[in-house]
């Protein structure tokens, strides 16, 4: 669909020159992805820690993102790639939650999954110490989300009858 802004229709918005996001093609861009969406925690490694200092209002909460990667100095970028253990465990976690074969290797399937359009909210958050609420005991929020029989223990029989996995 052509989109016009000015009244004389002279400024046909060229849909082709819309800014494209940088594709995730290699381990470095994969590492930035894993950092941006919380798979590599800021606390995982000191180097990453310095990159994710608490930011003021004007800076990015995620100082690392796909456009600004180029702005990193060469030394910190290579150091980032040397975070091998963190990178592999983060990669495995991403593969696990994405229902991919958990190989720990930046393979094609993982690359494709990383390049999917997605929500910008991080997948893994710095979970504060979870306190037990009055009616539900929550060990890990994700666990509660995936297994609802516990949410209302007193009606587990009802949930049992209506749990789609059972249906």
């Amino acid at each position: 669909e052509k989109i016009f802004h000015s009244r004389d229709h002279s400024d046909v918005v060229d849909m082709n020159n819309i800014h494209q996001a940088e594709a995730i093609t290699d381990k470095h861009t994969a590492q930035l992805f894993l950092f941006k969406y919380g798979f590599i925690r800021a606390s995982d490694s000191d180097e990453v820690q310095s990159l994710a200092e608490p930011v003021s209002d004007t800076d990015d909460i995620f100082p690392l993102n796909l456009q600004e990667a180029g702005a990193l100095s060469r030394s910190s970028r290579t150091e980032l790639q040397n975070q091998q253990p963190e990178f592999i465990s983060a990669l495995r976690e991403f593969q696990r939650v994405s229902s991919l074969p958990v190989t720990g290797v930046f393979d094609d399937a993982t690359k494709a999954a990383m390049n999917q359009p997605r929500c910008g909210v991080p997948d893994q958050e710095e979970q504060p110490e979870l306190t037990e609420s009055n009616s539900i005991s929550i060990q890990n929020h994700t666990e509660v989300m995936q297994n609802h029989n516990e949410v209302t223990p007193n009606s587990a029989d009802v949930m049992q009858n209506h749990n789609p996995a059972v249906r």
């Binding site: 989109i3 802004h5 918005v13 819309i18 800014h19 494209q20 996001a21 940088e22 594709a23 995730i24 969406y37 930011v55 209002d57 004007t58 800076d59 990015d60 909460i61 995620f62 993102n65 796909l66 456009q67 939650v97 994405s98 229902s99 999954a113 390049n115 999917q116 359009p117 997605r118 929500c119 910008g120 909210v121 997948d123 958050e125 979970q127 504060p128 979870l130 306190t131 609420s133 009055n134 539900i136 929550i138 929020h141 994700t142 509660v144 989300m145 995936q146 609802h148 949410v151 009606s155 009802v158 209506h162 749990n163 789609p164």
Partner: protein, 423 residues
């Protein structure tokens, strides 16, 4: 700018973080939203964008106690959820967008939603591109306090999956939002199964029924097999029940025996007979007298307004409930039973002493799904002992009431939506 910042800090949106259960949630159920003035997309018309956001909020309202209202007038800092489109560095947000591909939107708990206008967002059911509705429902879920959920079928999956024709919020996602905001509850003015006869292509007559819950001027069709209401409900009563009063009804009765098949709706001191085949009220009765008619004219001894009523095919009586009394009306003799009126506690004794609605029953409902009569009052219901129960346990008195249970544990997710989002 200083004054504005001070105002912001002073009037910080009252967002009490309930007891910290791992995720924040709003502490109120009516939430105001607005598309930020400079935040409209350049790709869709304003009407399309507003329609989609209104629908997105409505979808969450249909499965939770939350209601949403677009607010175009209050100060911006009083708006609970602010939405806007932008590209790259946008709307003063601290997280810039990355262009077409990858990140299409982000949201902040209890706060704002930003959509990347470099993405090719589309309206529902139109070709390729990213469904703005599906993204909006996902991001609204974040604002309400839901994290990403890695479960096939969940709307809260982080990656976008092209929208199958009609995505809806499934059972597990409903329970997720309800774990933050509770289940939907409330009293009903009438609950009934509506029966209709249909001819099959082969000329056979089949009988169909649907279950309806009515609350004041709104109603839901309840799908027993799916344990949920029909998508898109509630609907205003006049929209679906041609000729019934806008404010809904007090009772529904279907007198159905070998000689009679008549549906009646009662409201106040009047009643209508309903034409199920043509799906509208009858204009006149068989003697040409126009509806609505006075209840007492045609049901001698019964005077509206009623709490509720139902027809019992076993004894061919209509049971009219009013206050603490019940009136048994014999449709064959068109007269009240001699023993009427009686106390509800006498006609429907409690199996467990003290566990009884006693008076002001909201709705009496014979369910074809459960082959039982239910009495509903507030958020509770009592099931009337059935013939099968008494065969198993002969000691149970006739029409006794079994111990109460919660309505929302038998009929799920019957939720109000804000009147502004009624279609």
């Amino acid at each position: 700018r200083k004054r504005h910042l001070a105002a912001l800090l002073k009037n910080r949106r009252r967002r009490d973080v309930g007891d910290w259960t791992g995720h924040m949630s709003f502490s109120k159920t009516l939430l105001k939203w607005r598309v930020i003035g400079e935040g409209y997309s350049s790709q869709l018309s304003i009407d399309e964008q507003k329609y989609i956001f209104r629908l997105g909020f409505r979808m969450w309202s249909e499965v939770s106690p939350l209601e949403f209202q677009e607010d175009l007038h209050s100060p911006l800092e009083d708006i609970d959820i602010r939405l806007g489109f932008g590209t790259g560095r946008h709307l003063g947000c601290s997280q810039r967008f990355d262009g077409a591909g990858h990140e299409f939107a982000h949201a902040w708990f209890l706060g704002d939603i930003h959509f990347d206008d470099d993405e090719h967002f589309t309206v529902p059911n139109t070709g390729s591109g990213i469904s703005l509705l599906k993204v909006a429902v996902h991001e609204i879920g974040h604002v309400l306090g839901l994290p990403h959920i890695y479960r096939a079928g969940s709307i809260m999956q982080p990656s976008y999956l092209p929208q199958d024709s009609g995505f809806e919020i499934d059972w597990m996602d409903r329970k997720s939002i309800q774990s933050l905001y509770g289940v939907c509850q409330g009293r009903f003015s009438a609950v009934f199964d509506w029966i209709r006869k249909e001819l099959t292509p082969y000329g056979e007559v089949t009988v169909r029924f649907n279950t309806y819950f009515m609350r004041d001027g709104w109603y839901w069709l309840y799908e027993n097999r799916n344990n949920r209401t029909r998508y898109g409900d509630p609907v205003a009563v006049p929209v679906g029940w041609n000729g019934l009063p806008d404010s809904g009804v007090d009772a529904y009765v279907h007198v159905w025996n070998r000689k009679t098949d008549a549906v009646y709706f009662f409201k106040g001191v009047q009643y209508w007979r309903y034409d199920s085949e043509n799906d509208r009220v009858f204009a006149n009765d068989s003697l040409g007298r126009s509806y609505p008619r006075l209840i007492s004219d045609d049901f001698p001894g019964v005077i509206g307004p009623l709490d509720t009523a139902y027809y019992d095919r076993r004894d061919a009586h209509v049971y009219f409930f009013k206050g603490s009394q019940v009136f048994r009306f014999d449709v064959r003799t068109n007269r009240l039973a001699k023993s009427s009126p009686q106390r509800i506690t006498a006609v429907f004794p409690a199996v467990v002493p003290g566990d009884h609605p006693v008076r002001n029953v909201d709705a009496s409902y014979f369910s074809y799904t459960h082959n039982s009569v239910f009495l509903l009052k507030g958020e509770r219901y009592w099931r009337v002992v059935s013939a099968r129960d008494r065969r198993r346990k002969p000691s149970l008195p006739l029409n006794a009431l079994l111990p109460h249970r919660d309505v929302d544990q038998q009929w799920f997710d019957i939720c109000d939506v804000h009147s502004s989002s009624l279609r």
